[in-house]
């Protein structure tokens, strides 16, 4: 890739030398407005949060910060509540990613066979992904309403009813309810993306494997899985990062409660900033989330490289 660009560079350079604007500075002219914009509205705020995480700052008097070094970090990591928050975040991310990529793959395999009305089926399955999180939180809360919610009526009817029906007020059932809602919203994206990856599986290979008497599972593992593996990896990575930062759905359904049983990092961060008014602690919590995301990204690159090496061998 880089080699290609190198060999091409002199040629285009010569063609454009006449006008000074068409030379080395051209790319910077094109990207300057966007880069400046991102720097102002993402870069500077991020830098401010990094700084804030080393200070004690109140929301009520935000211009008055006291430098406290690593105290905020020491404080949160020494806090049992924060460790529980980390654990809940881990559970939330792992279940959502595995659940939505797993069910997305099953649905993609189901829709990958040719049948009449496949286009319609594919479109309808995508609906949850397209629905705004606010609307999803609203309808989920209504469906889970203790007295009149359809979910409780259904659970009662099949004999699995939760006593009192207050699923979102229960420390046991609130998190599962949020996990199911998130997975419901995420699996369509996985299935649509995997469906397009499945188009890349060579038909003659799967047919040859079946003809040789290979079972479906074997064919899937030996042929299909090898083709879609990178896409699955990419989806898992994207969904992990998105799940770490997901806010609306959880906030609007439970606000992290009851008793912190659905409190993920981002919920904790928001509550620290706006309920406890501790901007420094909030920023430190946010930084932990960012660093975790960075580690996930770096780790995935490492795994992808190792897999690549394995393949070329």
């Amino acid at each position: 890739m880089t080699v290609l660009e190198h060999t091409r560079a002199p040629q285009t350079e010569a063609g454009r030398r006449r006008s000074p604007l068409g030379s080395r500075w051209t790319p910077y002219l094109f990207l300057a407005p966007a880069a400046l914009f991102i720097a102002i509205f993402q870069g500077v705020p991020l830098a401010q949060q990094v700084f804030l995480s080393f200070t004690k700052t109140s929301l009520l008097n935000p211009t008055n910060s006291t430098w406290v070094g690593l105290e905020n970090y020491a404080h949160i990591f020494g806090d049992d509540d924060f460790r529980r928050t980390l654990l809940i975040t881990l559970v939330y991310v792992v279940v959502c990613v595995v659940g939505s990529v797993g069910s997305g793959l099953l649905v993609a395999l189901l829709l990958n066979r040719g049948f009449r009305g496949r286009g319609v089926a594919r479109a309808l399955v995508t609906v949850p992904w397209a629905a705004p999180a606010i609307a999803v939180a609203l309808i989920a809360t209504w469906m889970l309403n203790p007295q009149y919610g359809i979910v409780n009526r259904f659970l009662d009817a099949v004999g699995l009813g939760v006593a009192g029906g207050a699923i979102l007020d229960s420390q046991t059932y609130a998190l599962p309810a949020i996990l199911v809602t998130t997975t419901w919203q995420l699996f369509p994206l996985a299935s649509v993306v995997l469906l397009s990856a499945l188009q890349g599986v060579p038909k003659d290979l799967t047919e040859a494997a079946t003809m040789d008497g290979a079972g479906r599972w074997w064919t899937f593992r030996a042929v299909t899985w090898q083709v879609i593996k990178p896409t699955v990896g990419l989806l898992a990575l994207l969904m992990t990062i998105w799940s770490i930062r997901r806010f609306e759905l959880i906030w609007l359904m439970t606000k992290g409660g009851p008793v912190g049983s659905t409190e993920t990092l981002v919920i904790d961060l928001y509550a620290q900033a706006f309920d406890s008014k501790q901007l420094g602690t909030a920023a430190a919590i946010g930084m932990v989330g960012v660093v975790i995301s960075l580690i996930v990204i770096a780790g995935s690159r490492f795994v992808a490289r190792a897999a690549e090496k394995e393949n070329t061998r």
């Binding site: 006008s19 509205f41 705020p45 309808l124 705004p132 990419l234």
Partner: protein
């Protein structure tokens, strides 16, 4: 033969079951909006909409709040779309066509913005907007939303421009066209489908956005629909039918447009992320 038929039937049933799971909540939103009070609170739930009970929709449309909310959302979403596409096209072009110092850094920075939670950025942006008098204004929300969606838009458009043959530009270059002219005349028309997809993503990112809107807007007349609808959660004063009617009108455009643009959105997202 019969085994085949059983397999086929089983597959059809499974597909219908999956579709049912996917669409039921939104269907239920619609049914609830079109329910009489007695059906809503009866022991047996009514599973089909009752089209004679449309007061929820009438209330939603005549109450005044709904239309204003939707109008504000429309302004924010349209502004975000124009701004992020306007900045995203040249950025995507620079990333696709040129090799320059800092290119890798720029690409990595764009990808890294994907992991910054809005909830983390809301405090410093609040301070920034406070200083420049952008609180309680739709302009502030347009700026904040554009900053969050611009990286995705730029990566999608970069992927699209990657697909335009360079030969087309070489021809223009011989005629003495400047890079900017070539971008507008040659590339933009060719990547129109991807621009449309990126526009859909940008529009509904802003349409759905909640955290910034709820934090930066105080005046009720400036509230977008996301904040208005969220305020219904846990509130008991408004009839459930009206609430669901408003939410349905908020949801329908998002679902319709995403379905329309789905092919391009998926292609753009995977291309942007894989190649980025």
């Amino acid at each position: 033969m019969s085994r085949l038929r059983i397999g086929l039937t089983l597959r059809i049933v499974t597909v219908l079951f999956v579709i049912g799971i996917a669409v039921f909540p939104l269907y239920w939103m619609f049914v609830t909006a079109l329910s009489s009070d007695s059906d809503l609170f009866a022991a047996d739930a009514r599973l089909f909409p009752d089209f004679s009970q449309f007061t929820g929709f009438v209330d939603a449309l005549t109450g005044g709040d709904t239309l204003r909310w939707l109008r504000n959302s429309l302004v924010i979403a349209a502004g975000t779309t124009v701004l992020s596409i306007g900045l995203g096209i040249p950025l995507g072009y620079a990333l696709s066509r040129f090799s320059f110092v800092g290119k890798t850094l720029m690409t990595v920075a764009l990808l890294l913005t994907q992991m910054l939670p809005e909830a983390l950025m809301v405090v410093p942006l609040f301070a920034l907007f406070n200083r420049f008098d952008l609180l309680d204004s739709l302009t502030g929300l347009i700026l904040a939303n554009s900053a969050f969606v611009l990286p995705i838009v730029a990566l999608i458009l970069k992927g699209a421009i990657d697909g335009v043959p360079r030969e087309l530009e070489e021809a223009g270059r011989v005629d003495g066209a400047r890079p900017f002219t070539m971008l507008v005349r040659i590339n933009v028309p060719l990547i129109a489908p991807s621009i449309a997809a990126a526009a859909v993503i940008a529009f509904f990112h802003a349409w759905n956005e909640y955290v910034f809107a709820v934090t930066f807007i105080y005046a009720p007349q400036m509230q977008p629909a996301s904040v208005g609808i969220a305020s219904f959660i846990g509130e008991v004063g408004t009839p459930v039918q009206t609430v669901m009617a408003v939410a349905f009108m908020f949801t329908l455009p998002a679902v319709a447009f995403y379905l329309f643009a789905q092919k391009y959105v998926v292609a753009g997202m995977t291309a942007g992320a894989v190649k980025g």
